[in-house]
Point group: C2
Chain length 353, copies 2
């Protein structure tokens, strides 16, 4: 230890230290670096019960009502892509975070940060899309704000939405409620959103157009609740995809999650595009898919209910929760080998939402 304090013996490499002192794209990627930022900076600063639960939204009590409250900023590039745009995403993302709390989405706020020089027609198209998405999801956008930054200090449009929902789930939903033996349901095929955005951004052409899966998820979640199924945890598969979601839950719950690759649905076209691009669909962001942790005895019935909704037509039981090794996600591959499904340091695809 003494040697470290002596200048002659200071062997620490300056490069990684310097990197860690600046924000990298990976800090926003849903992976390890983002977790680190959360754990070293945000959680200690604002420590409180709701925040510490580390779920997609906070559940709080106001005036006797049990509310879910959540926020997300959207910086996707490009603004428009097959199957969606930043406006639809800004509604679906926040509505889905509320749904993942077992809450009926009710009210949204919208904060726009516009770059000087943005064509008003582009903003109009985005606002129209937000309106349609809000109507379809039965939420009202009740308050908003617009800021404009100088040309070159933004990127067209950034949108923040926050949302309020009324909690309808009778029991708390979150990683803390997950139990060994729970079944892990994946609500649909993975990766279409990320590949859809990437294909326009990079000008890639595949045999068929891959459309984003962006969609609101409250209807299928409500159907589960109305059928008396009590999900222990729900998590939408956004930044970092299924892998990030399962890793976060395994870590928070201090349990192991085992999933089978053969039981995780991926569209053929998405699989092909991923192979071509060297991406793993288990890490690619979705915007209309979620993982549900339910008691094993209710899993088959839950899948049956979910499949009634087109957005969940490919729902599958993909795995289960075990005691050990705690904090770990283990994947059984198609050929039967098992490996740890780890958290990436950042994200394969930046600015996908």
């Amino acid at each position: 230890m003494a040697a470290n304090n002596s200048p002659e013996f200071n062997w620490s490499c300056p490069l990684p230290s310097d990197l860690a002192e600046r924000i990298l794209l990976a800090h926003g990627g849903g992976g390890r670096l983002m977790q680190k930022l959360l754990e070293s900076l945000f959680l200690p600063a604002f420590s409180n019960e709701a925040l510490n639960r580390r779920h997609d939204g906070a559940v709080v009590e106001v005036g006797g009502a049990r509310l879910a409250f959540t926020t997300d900023s959207y910086v996707v590039r490009p603004l428009f892509f097959p199957g969606g745009d930043i406006g639809a995403l800004a509604v679906h993302g926040t509505v889905n975070d509320l749904a993942m709390c077992g809450a009926r989405p009710m009210f949204l706020s919208a904060g726009f940060i516009l770059e000087e020089g943005l064509p008003v027609a582009v903003l109009e198209r985005v606002v129209r899309s937000m309106r349609e998405a809000a109507q379809a999801a039965h939420v009202a956008l009740v308050t908003g704000d617009t800021k404009v930054v100088d040309k070159g200090k933004g990127d067209g449009i950034f949108i923040n939405t926050a949302g309020i929902g009324l909690v309808e789930a009778p029991s708390p939903i979150g990683p803390q409620a997950v139990r060994p033996g729970d079944a892990v349901i994946v609500s649909g095929d993975l990766g279409a959103h990320g590949i859809a955005v990437l294909s326009v951004r990079e000008g890639l052409e595949f045999d068929s157009v891959i459309a984003s899966d962006t969609a609101p998820l409250w209807a299928p979640v409500r159907a589960l609740l109305e059928a008396g199924i009590e999900p222990h945890c729900l998590r939408d598969l956004t930044r970092g995809g299924l892998s990030a979601a399962l890793n976060e839950i395994a870590a928070s719950a201090r349990l192991a999650i085992r999933v089978e690759e053969a039981r995780i649905p991926v569209q053929e076209a998405v699989r092909g595009a991923c192979e071509l691009l060297g991406l793993d669909p288990l890490y690619v962001a979705c915007e209309g898919r979620f993982a549900a942790f339910v008691p094993a005895r209710e899993a088959e019935r839950a899948v049956e209910i979910l499949r009634r909704f087109s957005v969940c037509a490919a729902a599958q039981i993909a795995g289960r929760v075990e005691e050990a090794p705690a904090g770990t996600v283990i994947l059984k591959s198609r050929i039967g080998a098992t490996r740890v499904l780890d958290l990436l340091s950042g994200e394969q695809l930046p600015r996908i939402c």
Copy 2:
């Protein structure tokens, strides 16, 4: 009229039309262009009762509780200035919008949009400031989100906060409740925030350092409510300053507002700086000042209560509401002349909050 349809007689100047088709800094300035964007785009798209009231926040009912809900994005440049920083601003601004709804601020969300390359130490300083501001304002930051955009596509840190408050005012507060005869109270001296930001941004040195007035405002508002005073309208004097606030209220209420320049407090140093810079303090943003519209018979008592709080030490009755000319703000100058205090097209100072 026919001539206008004929190409030979098309005298319309292409310049303003083209300008109107792109977003300008002025669209975020709290002035006429921002009103236009609101009225032509956002309000028609999302029309609903809460939004149409056009107050600082929406008042909605969820699960039997009457809540205020509001959002603001903060893009102030530079991030740090005398008396505050973007973090404190992001807490105070949203807490104050809730207070202006007569609501006790309870919960905040925070969405960060970080620019790649930002020193982590800068983020830490901002987060520390947010924590202190949140503690002082008795609100809990319960949910958050972090996005990172590529270097050159952002500007260090943008923060969005949304807030939930519990409405404690017994009657609705907003422009619609303003009545002829109401007194207009200005809660303190104007313009310090805008000048504080500008002085660092432009490297200006004045005889004395002018510190931002940024501060939470719920305590004085609650004191009014607890004393049984029912404010008809409350409005914090942010973008566009007192002038924008009064013009918005006069327009929404379809009433006239008369104020006396001699009764509107401005610090000597701020007045001097404004003269030097060719700015009008009535248009400069504050972040800890508000206008209160109260029944005339309660005005003196309201001022007395407000002055007990250091943030409102300079509170004054500055004017009153009249029937006509509807939608107009009239200023009686120090020398006794009257003039219309108009809305600017944009803002004198962009990116001040």
